[in-house]
Symmetry: C2
DNA sequence: AGTTTTGTATTGAATAATCATTCAATATGG
DNA sequence: CCATATTGAATGATTATTCAATACAAAACT
């Protein structure tokens, strides 16, 4: 990670010298998208929220597109680091690690309506802006692979050998995405607790004898 | 349904007299959103694709917003009628009915990239346009309730009595939504067959002894 | 210390492009 | 000839982008 510099050079100039205005603008972008939707997010709104002039925002990021891209990258990095640290933790039983991942995926920090609405906004444009896809896809793959490995470690707990670790990992991932979407739809019903519980029961149905999934 | 007239009057004038241009425009709207994304969909594009003038499109639907709304309604109705007919079918064993629903949810007609990208486009704006939400939410509820009833009929097939029908129905629904999203992301991996299979294995993990889920 | 110079950071008004919406004019068919 | 359907050019609003002007701060010089 430190040895190999990431080649994001088109999106943010250099990691070592991100100005405070840079961050203020990215924050303001995310807040604006969450508050008004991507379609209604203008440079003027973002600049105002960040407390800088409109011209400045454009000058710093070269274009609105680039500002949006940088904001998505920021969000994506934030999510990554939250699960990365769980995967890297030592001396953790596989079951407990999965429980930690589940907690993280439905924590207030990650699964709140503002962040989800920003994710959705970008996701919905993925088919038309390959650059959006690039930012998410790579991390997604790493996450899926690590999850798959983790589930392999639980193989002995279930007799359903035809439900492969890859498939279990995919279905977990899909279910989480779907539940996030539903939090946006109907937050009264789909509280974080409710969603977490649904996934927990799903695990329970696979690993019937594991008490910690109850 | 027939006795009580639905109060959609703001969106499409009257069911009995939808002109062919009306439908052409709705089709063109869906195609345009699928091809260019909601953000890049202009009345001019839609009108051109529909083969009418720009002014006409606006005149007929009163506003762009209304055209979008009508298109979402159309899509929503289309989906509804496809699962509705499965629920209404007589002399169908619960398992077979679920299999039919699963087939439908990952059929080419329903789960293709164009339609999914239109759904996503609207979903992502749901937080900011209550009218979008209204169109989807009601049907969603009916679908969920019917699914829940269906799953209740399978209660005797599983020993996992703490995974309630409602929860199973919710998790199915979420998983489908999540998989649709992934079809958009990476259609090479997430083929309809692949997705259907994931959900099938999920059912298998709950109803272990039911051979038809294998 | 105070003044001038120089380079950078920031502004905000002007520009140009895009688009929804309007409506007077025209076509169409009964 | 009338009524209705349809056109497409004009309008006005919105908004990303540009850039000359200005603020600011740090050196450089007296």
């Amino acid at each position: 990670m430190i040895a190999a510099p990431e080649k994001n050079n088109e999106i943010i100039e250099a990691n070592d010298q991100i100005s405070s205005n840079h961050l203020k603008l990215i924050d303001a972008t995310i807040e604006t998208i969450a508050a008004r939707g991507l379609a209604d997010t203008t440079i003027a709104h973002v600049a105002k929220k960040a407390g800088v002039s409109q011209g400045y925002a454009n000058f710093k990021f070269k274009s609105k597109e680039n500002l949006l891209l940088s904001s998505l990258q920021y969000l994506s990095d934030e999510y990554k680091s939250s699960w990365q640290s769980i995967f890297e933790e030592k001396n953790l039983d596989p079951i407990d690690r999965i429980l930690r991942i589940l907690d993280n995926d439905f924590s207030e920090k990650i699964a709140n309506r503002n962040k989800i609405s920003v994710w959705m906004a970008f996701y919905s444009e993925v088919k038309f802006r390959p650059s959006y896809l690039n930012i998410c896809q790579h991390q997604d793959e790493i996450y899926s692979n690590q999850m798959e490995k983790l589930i392999k470690e639980l193989n002995h707990l279930t007799k359903q050998t035809n439900f492969t670790p890859k498939e279990i990992s995919e279905s977990y991932h899909s279910m989480v995405d779907g539940l996030w979407q539903r939090i946006l739809f109907d937050p009264k019903i789909y509280t974080n607790q409710f969603c977490r519980n649904i996934v927990l029961k799903y695990f329970k149905s696979i690993y019937v004898d594991e008490k910690r999934f109850s």
